[in-house]
């Protein structure tokens, strides 16, 4: 599992290293954790807004040391099982890369928006445990972060390719790396032993029709990604609204016009987070 991922074009490596996290959230979580009267829900809500911290927490609780790998996919359950001490440890040892915020401007906002949209869609489709959809939504572009933080020169190359040929970020990644962030997500999720539903949401959010085990998860994140881009909340690295796979609607047994009601709910929820600034 300690294997690094080798890119296909230039033989560069994506290494299993520390990932960046966002400074302000880190600070907020530390404050909340330090206060004895804080509840698990408050801390979970904050941690859920940081994709890197969320991923680390889930990775930790699903590690074989705790004895139930692959079972836990909700942040608040992870907090109940890990306890504040372990969380504090994770936060303290999470290295903060300024590069990240500068590097991928707007990606964090895009991830939050996708997380919100994922749980909204899951709820309106009557799916169980909507919070788990939100986790997958939050983490769906993590592969982009990992690739650009670890291979800084790659980022400039992708960006100029996106501009030059008006490609999607994914297409540019594929041209330069030989594969996209969806494959990097699969590698990360496997390495961290994340539960299979979260993994499929992460690595099939561009191709829900090929998801084997949890097509609903992949379809929800797929549509959520689309909505987040449609609303132009944050940025996924290019200006395109991605092509919607019609299979996503089929999988969720909804019609495209059902998105209207979802959008109404989303309007309100986006307002709730729009004043959250994490810089």
């Amino acid at each position: 599992m300690e294997e690094d991922l080798k890119t296909e074009r230039k033989g560069q490596l994506l290494a299993v290293k520390d990932l960046p996290t966002l400074p302000t959230v880190l600070d907020e979580v530390s404050k909340l954790v330090a206060r004895p009267e804080s509840t698990t829900e408050q801390v979970a809500r904050l941690i859920s807004m940081d994709q890197v911290l969320s991923a680390k927490v889930l990775k930790m609780v699903n590690s074989p040391i705790y004895g139930f790998p692959g079972r836990i996919s909700s942040i608040s359950h992870a907090l109940m099982l890990l306890g504040f001490n372990v969380i504090r440890g994770i936060i303290v040892s999470t290295s903060v890369f300024d590069v990240m915020t500068k590097n991928m401007v707007g990606l964090w906002e895009h991830s939050i928006a996708t997380a919100l949209a994922s749980s909204t869609i899951a709820r309106s489709c009557g799916l169980r445990d909507p919070d788990e959809y939100s986790v997958a939504g939050l983490l769906h572009d993590l592969g982009k972060v990992v690739a650009t933080v670890q291979l800084p020169e790659l980022k400039t190359a992708i960006e100029s390719l996106v501009k030059q040929k008006d490609l999607t970020y994914l297409a540019a990644e594929r041209e330069l790396l030989g594969f996209g962030h969806d494959r990097i997500n699969a590698w990360l999720a496997a390495h961290w032993k994340l539960p299979p539903n979260i993994k499929e949401g992460m690595d099939h959010h561009h191709s829900p029709q090929t998801a084997q085990l949890y097509p609903e998860m992949a379809a929800v994140v797929h549509l959520a990604d689309f909505l987040a881009r449609l609303y132009e909340f944050g940025s996924g690295g290019d200006d395109n609204v991605p092509f919607v796979q019609s299979e996503a609607f089929k999988i969720l047994k909804i019609k495209p016009k059902d998105l209207e009601a979802i959008c109404d709910t989303l309007n309100e929820r986006f307002v709730e987070v729009s004043d959250l600034k994490f810089t």
């Binding site: 004895p36 705790y66 004895g67 139930f68 079972r71 836990i72 996919s73 608040s76 359950h77 109940m80 099982l81 890990l82 306890g83 504040f84 001490n85 169980r128």
Partner: protein, 327 residues
């Protein structure tokens, strides 16, 4: 040395057996602790001592590598090859040269005492060896939580000091049917999860004296001050109930029940697992013996078990109250 090691006192007198022909070593060791702290049994020869070792095993064996009648390592290997004596910690005393020349790695000795050595070093070495042995002696092999004898010892200590405390016994309902259907390794996952829920909940009450132990199987014990125990029970029940469905397969979770065989072998439907907690209070030195507490707890447990959902029962100085999580 006396000041630095002053905190290294034992909670009960330790019995140490020493096998050495070296009078100097014997004199140094036997004066390390005040009389009453350590009870020494000394023998210059190995063979005769083995029988004594087997009939009245000490807390620690210190054996010299150079005994006149048998090799020290041989004594160690005789003791360690018997399952009932394996937990007895052994310190092998040998000179630097003897250690370099012998193949002690193959024998399960716990520590090496390189002679000659200073009293400070030796005292620390013995203390650490005994402390480590008592920690690992009855730890639950799955959860690594303290086991039965540590639990009883802790409770008895608190009773003897007339400390106020609440003692909670927790166990799982329908764990057996889960185990039967999903197998032992999935059952172990649930036991690990339960231990974790209890540990993190109890640890979240900072600045109080607390304790968590694992009696075995699906039986757990925790101790908290009387005024915090109800909040802890609430949180344990809440966390357990929200997490445990995720340890079932999709369809069982959706249905909220499993089909498995009962104790008589008949096929039956069982609800999802629940956690029951019985709490005994000891205030104002009401209880004086561990047995009293466990007896009260067992009768409360019956009350808690009448409820198929997760719940806790408080024994409030005779007034019993059953609480269950609201739907």
């Amino acid at each position: 040395m006396e000041q630095a090691l002053a905190g290294c006192v034992f909670s009960r007198p330790q019995r140490i057996m020493l096998l050495t022909p070296d009078a100097g070593l014997r004199d140094m060791l036997t004066t390390l602790w005040e009389p009453g702290q350590v009870e020494w049994t000394h023998s210059e020869r190995g063979r005769g001592a083995i029988e004594h070792l087997f009939t009245e095993p000490p807390d620690l064996l210190i054996v010299d590598n150079d005994l006149p009648d048998i090799k020290g390592l041989e004594v160690a290997s005789i003791v360690k090859s018997e399952n009932v004596y394996r937990q007895l910690p052994i310190i092998l005393a040998a000179s630097e040269e003897a250690v370099a020349a012998s193949s002690w790695c193959g024998v399960e000795v716990d520590e090496l005492l390189i002679t000659p050595s200073s009293p400070t070093r030796v005292k620390a070495l013995i203390y650490l060896t005994l402390a480590r042995a008592s920690r690992s002696f009855d730890a639950n092999p799955l959860t690594r939580l303290p086991g039965n004898s540590s639990i009883i010892q802790r409770i008895q200590e608190m009773m003897d000091r007339k400390e106020d405390f609440a003692l909670a016994y927790a166990d799982l309902d329908f764990f057996k049917s889960f185990n039967d259907k999903y197998g032992f390794s999935r059952g172990d996952e649930v036991l690990m999860m339960t231990a974790r829920v209890i540990v993190t909940t109890i640890r979240s009450f900072t600045g109080v004296r607390s304790f968590v132990g694992h009696v075995g199987g699906d039986d757990y014990v925790f101790i908290l001050p009387p005024d915090t125990v109800e909040a802890a029970c609430q949180r344990v029940v809440e966390s357990f109930d929200s997490i445990v469905p995720h340890f079932y397969d999709e369809e069982d979770r959706a249905r909220g029940s499993i089909v498995s065989t009962d104790r008589e072998g008949a096929i039956k439907t069982f609800p999802l697992m629940a956690i029951s907690i019985a709490v005994v209070f000891n205030e104002g030195g009401r209880l004086t013996h561990y047995g009293q507490a466990s007896q009260i707890a067992m009768s409360l447990k019956k009350k808690a078990k009448e409820n198929k959902k997760s719940c806790y029962v408080l024994d409030s100085r005779g007034r019993n109250a059953v609480r269950e999580e609201p739907e």
